[in-house]
């Protein structure tokens, strides 16, 4: 496994929203997308994805529809709702602020204090 990072609590939702924002995906697709865009660095347990998807759908951030997959099987596709898009923007912004702040803190050298 080597270079893989543990997922911070609460970040799974953000990752799902982000990957779905690029186009409708079925559950397995979400998994592939996360792995693809993180370059395989982020590891999630596959089953944990579904409660998260259900929760986001019930919160109205995702909507779902049954469709056909690439290999012609019936699959449930998730896509971002308007509320979901707004939430993604907010979460992204707040994540960036947090990451920047923590980065800043961690880069601080002794003489700067």
């Amino acid at each position: 496994m080597g270079d893989k990072a543990e997922l911070l609590p609460g970040t799974l939702d953000l990752l799902i929203l982000k990957s779905v924002s690029l186009g409708p995906l079925h559950g397995y697709g979400v998994l592939l997308r996360i792995s693809q865009i993180s370059g395989g660095a982020l590891e999630i347990e596959q089953g944990a994805l579904y409660p998260a998807l259900y929760r986001l759908e019930e919160q109205g951030l995702l909507s779902s529809q049954w469709g056909t997959s690439d290999n012609n099987r019936r699959a449930k596709f998730y896509q971002l709702t308007r509320t979901g898009q707004r939430r993604l923007r907010e979460e992204t912004a707040s994540w960036e602020r947090l990451a920047a702040a923590i980065g800043l803190v961690l880069q601080t050298r002794p003489e700067e204090v």
Partner: protein
């Protein structure tokens, strides 16, 4: 609490599909992953295994998905509820009409159910009532006790379905054998039949009970202590336990009641304790106020037996006096049949002691053990049929109410088409909207049920007094308790489904584009209009059922009230006395009756006065088999009722003497015993011959009461115990009667004026003779007759009330449907007017449409009414179940009221302005 029904519905409608969807989704995931792994070179089977492994704890994840849903459903439900409250607040008129209609429908059902629950279903308020059993014995009708035994039986008897005769009393010896030897019962306890006594000047019910009565029932005292076995011995100190209610009402819950000497008849009993609140004994029909130990009968003599000769045992101890009723608690694991066999053996041993051996089990006495969780349940027989009929009636009313609310919802659904279309276009699922509309129905039904409960509390009290007026002597109670509330909630849920489902699904099927384009006016689409008419048709036919029922019951009551009784019921005041309870016996008793009669005759407004053993239509009958002495017919027998009467009885009652003479001063204790017989009995025993001078053999089968009487007169037939049956009667003069027949004499007072006006004078007259003598059952003859007809009055009152209610509801429905039909056709009517149609033909057109609906309802309702009225045939009197008059009157009334209901929409149709109508769409 609230979401439960919703989850239930959900489970029915959605749960299965949701789970299937989730499984399919996860299987797809695993399939994709396995495919990927196969591409990387794994064997397909191994790939599948790995894919499942990587997925993780599948069942746990599935459960977490379900939880998300469930939480969400609750959330949805609450928000639907909030939304529902908001929309109803915006349509207060609709909400008020719907809630009131439902409250009426649900409330009447709750009220009747509270009666059914307490009168027919609720167990005795004792510990573990399910274990209680009643012990009876039965015999073939032809089996008789040997005459030499001089048996006396104080139990309640009756015929059972299998033709055997059931009796519920045993001798003290048999009871003691049961108690000491029966292993199949963990407890056996006994008691006498509740008797009227005078306790500290109040007339109350007293019951003699065995020492273990309270402990066997598992009842705890409210004060002091209850009986133990040592209280129930012949030599024990005389003690009593009183009911909580008697303690509260008569002694103001005096804390120092224990030790008080209660004067029961003429015997002082020391009160040792108070039974718990709500405990009424084991006869649900009678509330017992004073309990005394079984062996106190030797002193109290509630059965009024003659005192034993010196040296002889007390009457109640005799083996040939069967008077103890028996109940018990089955031992764990014992079946009733086993207990029955054991007790039967014990009873047969006692019968052998009495000289009755080799009893044939098919014909002779045999013990029966029956479930006794409700005690000695006489109520069931009396009330199960009336309550069943009432339940059906209120069920019909609720259905009609549902029809109205469904109609309102249909119409409202059309006004909400645009709202629903907008929500659909914003992405709401149709199922979600249907759910929301159903929640609104549930909300309406819930509010209706809450209001209905308030209504039920009030109505059930009213119904109780109608069902069993306080004067009849039994206490019925009904409370709105947890069970009734649960019933109401269930009815509300079912109701909301009945009236809500169809309109909700109809509204869910809104056509998006046309709905958004339309003006949103309140018109019904053709399919809704048809549905609405179908609803009104069913309401009309249900109303016809109720109206026909009302007609039959009202006619029954009228027939009963106006039937010829054979005596003059007007201006008659009745009351009873119990002088023997105050110590009047023998000559003293006879002179007391004469003195009171004389005093009463002096009361202004009184025409004449007489007294008798019983008064007519008091459901208080005594009788037996009698025979005549006509040559060749000497063995003919007839069942006859008797009455013991004072001298002026026939004149006072205005019963015509048809032949012979009345009783007179020449009939004394020492002269020949005489009788006056009714015309019917004369015909039965003597045919066309005059019975005067012939002999009447009284009580030919009961050695103790057997006597020969000389017939001196024939009197016209009169109704006796009730107004329904014609019976044979014979009369004995009080001067010759045994004292036991004079114990509770009733006076009949014929007045010149309204009998109520002489009540005070009558009370004063009695008090003048003995101020300590309590008067009981003071009422007019007409009131007494109505009391005996309380069930018929209840039916007539309730069915006509509910019939009127149904009629009103159906007509409100009809009005609504027609009004919408007219507004839907405004354009068509406008065109007709523009083309020159006159108002007369327009009016006829609308009227025709409305009356067609009513006519269809009637055509369906009448055969249904004919079919159903057969079920109540046994409750009718003087009316055949298929009563042409009623079957004509009910639809006619329906039609007339319908025309009034249609009049307004008809009028509106004729007012249509063609220009406006053509522009309006």
């Amino acid at each position: 609490m609230l979401p439960k029904p919703r989850f239930f519905l959900d489970r029915l409608l959605h749960r299965y599909r949701l789970d299937a969807d989730m499984n399919e989704e996860i299987e797809f995931h695993i399939g994709q992953r396995a495919q990927e792994l196969t591409r990387r070179g794994l064997e397909p089977e191994e790939a599948l295994r790995r894919a499942r492994l990587e997925f993780g704890a599948m069942e746990r994840y599935k459960e977490r998905c379900r939880e998300t849903r469930r939480f969400h459903l609750l959330h949805d439900f609450l928000s639907d509820l909030r939304y529902g409250v908001r929309t109803l607040r915006n349509a207060p008129g609709f909400a008020i009409v719907a809630v009131l209609t439902l409250a009426l429908g649900i409330g009447t059902n709750s009220a009747i159910f509270s009666l059914v629950h307490s009168v027919l279903l609720k167990a005795l308020p004792v510990a573990d009532p399910a274990k209680l059993h009643v012990v009876n014995w039965s015999r073939d009708q032809k089996w008789n006790w040997p005459e030499s035994l001089q048996m006396d039986n104080y139990g309640w008897g009756g015929r059972t379905g299998n033709g055997r005769y059931v009796d519920n009393s045993f001798s003290l010896d048999v009871f003691h054998d049961f108690r000491t030897h029966a292993k199949s019962f963990s407890e056996v306890f006994g008691f006498g039949y509740p008797a009227d006594v005078n306790a500290d000047g109040a007339m109350v019910n007293a019951q003699l009970v065995s020492g273990n009565f309270f402990s066997a029932l598992g009842v705890q005292p409210a004060a002091g202590r209850l009986f133990i076995d040592k209280d129930d011995l012949l030599q024990s100190d005389p003690v009593a336990v009183i009911s909580y209610e008697f303690w509260r009402d008569h002694f103001s819950s005096d804390a120092k009641i224990v030790g008080h000497k209660l004067l029961v008849n003429t015997h002082p009993l020391t009160i040792i304790g108070v039974a718990p609140q709500g405990f009424f004994g084991v006869h649900p029909r009678t509330s017992v106020d004073v309990y005394a130990p079984l062996h106190m009968e030797a002193e109290l003599n509630t059965m009024g037996e003659p005192a034993p000769k010196p040296g002889e045992p007390a009457y109640c101890l005799r083996p040939n006096l069967w008077w103890v009723e028996v109940m018990g608690r089955l031992a764990p694991g014992v079946k009733p049949e086993q207990a029955q066999a054991e007790l039967n053996g014990l009873m047969l041993q006692q019968l052998a002691i009495l000289g009755i051996k080799n009893v044939d089990p098919a014909r002779g006495p045999r013990v029966e053990v029956h479930p006794g969780r409700r005690g000695l349940d006489e109520l069931k027989e009396d009330f199960s049929q009336p309550l069943l009929v009432l339940s059906c009636i209120v069920g019909l009313v609720l259905l009609i109410a549902c029809g109205n609310v469904a109609n309102l919802l249909l119409v409202r659904g059309t006004t909400r088409t645009r709202e629903i279309a907008v929500r659909l276009s914003l992405g709401a699922r149709r199922a979600r909207i249907v759910r929301q509309l159903l929640t609104e129905s549930l909300l309406l039904a819930g509010m209706g049920a809450a209001l209905g409960l308030v209504f039920a509390v009030w109505t059930s009290r009213l119904l109780l007094t109608l069902l069993a007026p306080p004067q009849v002597g039994y206490v019925l109670s009904a409370h709105v308790d947890g069970v009734v509330i649960a019933f109401t909630a269930l009815v509300a849920i079912i109701t909301s489904a009945v009236f809500g489902v169809v309109p909700a699904f109809r509204s869910g099927q809104v056509e998006l584009t046309s709905a958004l384009k339309s003006s949103g006016s309140a018109t019904l689409a053709p399919r809704e209009a048809k549905l609405s008419k179908a609803l009104v048709i069913s309401q009309v036919s249900l109303s016809i059922l109720l109206l026909v029922g009302a007609g039959l019951f009202v006619r029954t009551l009228n027939n009963l009230r106006n039937t010829n009784l054979g005596f003059d019921r007007s201006n008659l005041l009745l009351f009873g006395l119990d002088p023997t309870l105050s110590g009047y016996h023998g000559q003293k008793l006879r002179s007391l009756l004469d003195e009171i009669t004389a005093q009463l005759q002096l009361v202004p407004g009184v025409r004449s006065v007489a007294f008798a053993h019983v008064t007519p239509i008091s459901d208080n009958m005594s009788g037996g088999d009698v025979g005549g002495d006509l040559p060749g017919h000497a063995n003919d027998e007839a069942e006859a009722m008797y009455n013991v009467v004072g001298t002026d009885y026939f004149q006072t009652m205005r019963m015509k003497l048809l032949a012979g003479r009345n009783f007179g001063p020449q009939d004394t204790l020492s002269s020949t015993p005489v009788a006056v017989i009714s015309k019917r009995l004369a015909g039965k025993l003597f045919g066309k011959e005059s019975p005067i001078g012939h002999t009447l053999h009284k009580d030919v089968h009961v050695a103790k009461y057997k006597r020969d009487l000389q017939i001196i007169g024939v009197v016209a037939d009169a109704k006796y115990a009730d107004v329904k049956s014609d019976v044979n009667t014979y009369f004995l003069p009080y001067a010759q009667a045994q004292e036991v027949l004079l114990r509770g004499p009733s006076f009949v007072v014929r007045t010149r004026i309204d009998p109520h006006a002489v009540v005070a004078g009558v009370r004063r007259a009695v008090a003048q003779v003995d101020p300590q003598l309590p008067i009981r059952d003071l009422r007019t003859q007409v009131e007494q007759i109505d009391l005996s007809l309380s069930q018929e009055i209840l039916f007539a009152d309730l069915t006509s009330t509910f019939g009127a209610l149904a009629l009103a509801l159906a007509c409100v429905g009809l009005y609504g449907t027609m009004a919408y039909s007219v507004s839907r056709r405004t354009r068509e009517i406008g065109i007709r007017v523009a083309l020159g149609a006159d108002r007369q033909s327009l009016r006829a057109m609308v009227l025709r449409e409305g009356l067609l609906v009513v006519a269809i309802g009637i055509v369906i309702g009448i055969p249904a009414a004919i079919g159903l009225s057969r079920l109540v045939a046994s409750l009718l009197w003087g009316v055949r179940p298929i009563d042409v008059q009623t079957l004509i009157a009910a639809p006619l009334l329906m039609m007339l009221v319908a025309i009034v209901a249609i009049a307004v929409p008809t009028h509106r149709a004729t007012r249509v302005d063609p220009m406006l109508a053509l522009r309006c769409e």
